[in-house]
Amino acid sequence: MGLLIDIVMSGLINGSILALLAIGFSLIFGVARIVNFAHTAFYMVAAYCIYVVTQLMGWHAVWGMIAAVLVVTLLGMITYRFLINPIREHEGAVLIATIALAMILQEVMSLFFTGTYLSVPALIEGYAVILTVKVFYQQILSFGAALAILAALYFFLMKTKVGLAIRSTAQDREVANLMGINEARVAMLTMGLSVGLAGFAGAVVVPLTVLEPGMWTGPLIMMMAVVVLGGLGSLKGSFIGAYILGFAEALVVFLAPMGAFLKGPVALCIMILVLLMRPEGLFGVSFEEER
């Protein structure tokens, strides 16, 4: 029984962290068909923003979160305007450009902060004991944040005019343009929103991790696995895919402790298996139809 509780709790926490990262990535792909490989690099920049505000300036972590989301959103919009937009029609070029951007951001951070491992304080220190399992408050916060983000995004996309414009653009860019929607502006806005979500994910997740300039690569692979598993561009798919992989990771750690390092590869194998059976991912088609 104890083992089962451990697996459930750990799976929920792992899944929430993955979901937070994957939703923003999925959003920009769904709307603008931009595969932003720099998504987790923005998450890394957000982490360093929080470090600067909390550790170097001595301000509260909430200010760090706000600063991180603002800086990263702005950076994302500038990136779209000057780097992605001019080459947007060439998907391969966008892909390579965003990888290059991620590496540049890594080198810049490395230049300023060196490769020293750093950390930031948790928004809420301490832990709670839930069904005999010790869970950090920060982990509970990430679980709540993942749910809240999904709900807020759903409301934004379904109930607001801007959301309607984003959905229209996602369905058919040319028709949306003919209807008077400034498609480029919508894409830039979505990019800002997507990257802002990466910043927010950074703010929530970073106290649970270690800051270093290469910290974007690990989450990038898992995030890609999540969105491909869930169906590229499907928010619902990303959310569910994140929890599937989160539980897969937990199962590996608890059932095969000697192979705990295999939790990433096992999650990737699950993704491949699902893709072999359903190449569009779990929710690739159904979500397209919903929109």
């Binding site: 104890g2 083992l3 451990d6 709790m9 750990s10 926490i13 792992n14 962290i17 550790q55 490395s110 060196t114 490769g115 020293t116 491992y117 750093l118 950390s119 930031v120 304080p121 948790a122 220190e125 301490g126 832990y127 399992v133 010790k134 869970v135 950090f136 982990q139 649970l208 991790t209 270690v210 270093e212 290469g214 910290m215 690990g218 990771e249 937990a250 750690v253 608890f254 402790p257 000697m258 192979g259 705990a260 390092f261 939790k263 990433g264």
Partner: protein, 441 residues
């Protein structure tokens, strides 16, 4: 006409500038001895390499330099960023540049064994003495015995080899287990082995599995997280359920930070012993947000601990100059000051063969131990350092109330009849209060 002359002069000036820039800086001044310092310069390990070497060079140059025969020569350091954490190719390129373009006379540094092997090959091909101040793989020195003519220019300075590193860690494990037994009346200690997934840790883990039971303890389980795992709360939860009293850590990568931080924050009722390279650094306290208290690790230097008569001056000087405790890669200091310089002065030459012949038999004190180069079972030179009381033993440190203190060797006897060894400045080991609370009857 005037215009043509101006253009001509400009071209000539530019050509002169290019030519002057093409030659290494040292070639322009007085004769110097060039020492290449190679390491991952954007990381603490590389900074340690450089800072140690810088301190040694400055001290020697302040005294006029090195006496080579009839002339005094100053040391000129050449920095090479090996970037070996990210790319072994970068590391080999950096070594190639040092020996071919910068034409250094000697090289000190190196960190990851995977990178030091090819770096070693390059240095040996060019007959450059290369003193390793970071990699511990046994094979690096076995090569010297196996192919002396080719590899004789390689020496190890720090740390001692992997086998001895493991042996010392098991001594630490027994030491802490004994304290746990006595203070908490635990009849049979249960040990959880947590080793990062890395080549160097594989053999270590297998040995740990045997040694734990040989030492009369029970193995609670083995966990192998990724070396760069950022969340180990699931592993910690499983370890707590296993009822382990001691967590034997085998970490050299970043996983040591989240492990110590999360174990401390979750108040896991088990003490941590073993190797956690991150816990050797001053930055550990910040990196764990102060949750890494009571973490224990093998180490080389600690403020206030004197391994030998040279340690205090070095550690205090280093802290004063660089504001942090030297890492074991700062052994470049000893490699230059106590190894290379006396060898050059005694032989009166820069001839690598003559220096090798002298250095391999030269027993000397560096900043943390007495260096005596070993020979293998057939009497062939290994150029590896001797382990044991009176030679290199290393120390163990523990974080106590936010401060790193030395806790081993403390009344340590290698055999029951050996004299007890306690280095100056070593204090008793402390069991974390939440562990005492859990087990104290």
């Amino acid at each position: 006409m005037k215009m043509r002359f101006a253009v001509l002069w400009s071209i000539l000036l530019a050509a002169l500038l290019v030519v002057s820039m093409s030659f290494p800086a040292g070639a322009q001044g007085a004769k110097t001895i060039k020492i290449g310092v190679i390491g991952p310069m954007k990381f603490v390990q590389g900074t340690g390499h450089w800072n140690g070497a810088l301190m040694a060079a400055d001290e020697i140059n302040a005294k006029g330099g090195i006496q080579v025969g009839d002339e005094k020569m100053k040391i000129e350091l050449v920095q090479a960023d090996s970037n070996e954490f990210n790319s072994v190719t970068d590391a080999t390129n950096a070594m190639e540049r040092l020996v071919t373009r910068d034409k250094v006379d000697f090289v000190v540094g190196g960190f990851r064994s995977e990178a030091v092997f090819p770096m070693q090959d390059i240095a040996m091909e060019h007959k450059r003495i290369f003193i390793d101040c970071g990699a511990s793989h046994n094979e690096l020195c076995s090569r010297v015995a196996q192919n002396y003519d080719k590899y004789k220019y390689f020496f190890r300075e720090s740390p001692f080899n992997s086998s001895m590193l493991a042996r010392t860690s098991f001594i630490h494990l027994a030491y802490v287990a004994d304290i746990m037994k006595k203070e908490l009346n635990i009849p049979k200690i249960k040990v959880a082995v947590v080793a990062e997934k890395a080549m160097w840790a594989d053999a270590f883990t297998k040995t740990a599995e045997m040694v734990v039971t040989q030492q009369g303890m029970e193995l609670a389980g083995i966990w192998r997280p990724s070396a760069v795992a950022t969340d180990v709360s699931a592993e910690l939860s499983a370890i707590q359920r296993s009822g382990a009293h001691i967590i034997f850590t085998i970490f050299s990568s970043s996983v040591g930070i989240p492990f110590a931080r999360q174990a401390g924050e979750l108040k896991i009722p088990a003490v941590q012993v073993g190797i956690n390279v991150e816990a050797q650094k001053d930055s550990f306290w910040q990196a764990t947000q102060g949750k890494g208290d009571y973490a224990f690790t093998s180490s080389t230097f600690c403020r206030g601990v004197e391994n030998n008569g040279n340690t205090k001056a070095f550690v205090e000087g280093y802290v004063k100059r660089f504001g942090e405790t030297p890492s074991y890669t700062a052994a470049t200091y000893g490699a230059i000051k106590y190894g290379l310089v006396p060898s050059i002065e005694k032989t009166g030459t820069l001839d690598p063969d003559k220096i090798v012949a002298f250095l391999e038999n030269y027993e000397h004190k560096n900043a943390d131990s007495t260096i005596k180069y070993m020979k293998d079972s057939e009497g062939k030179p290994l150029h590896d350092i001797t382990w044991g009381p009176g030679y290199a033993t290393g120390i163990a440190v523990q974080w106590q109330n936010g401060k790193q203190v030395g806790v081993w060797p403390y009344k340590w006897k290698l055999t029951p009849n050996s004299p007890a060894v306690t280095y100056k400045g070593i204090v008793p080991y402390k069991i974390p209060p939440w562990v005492i609370e859990k087990y104290k009857k």
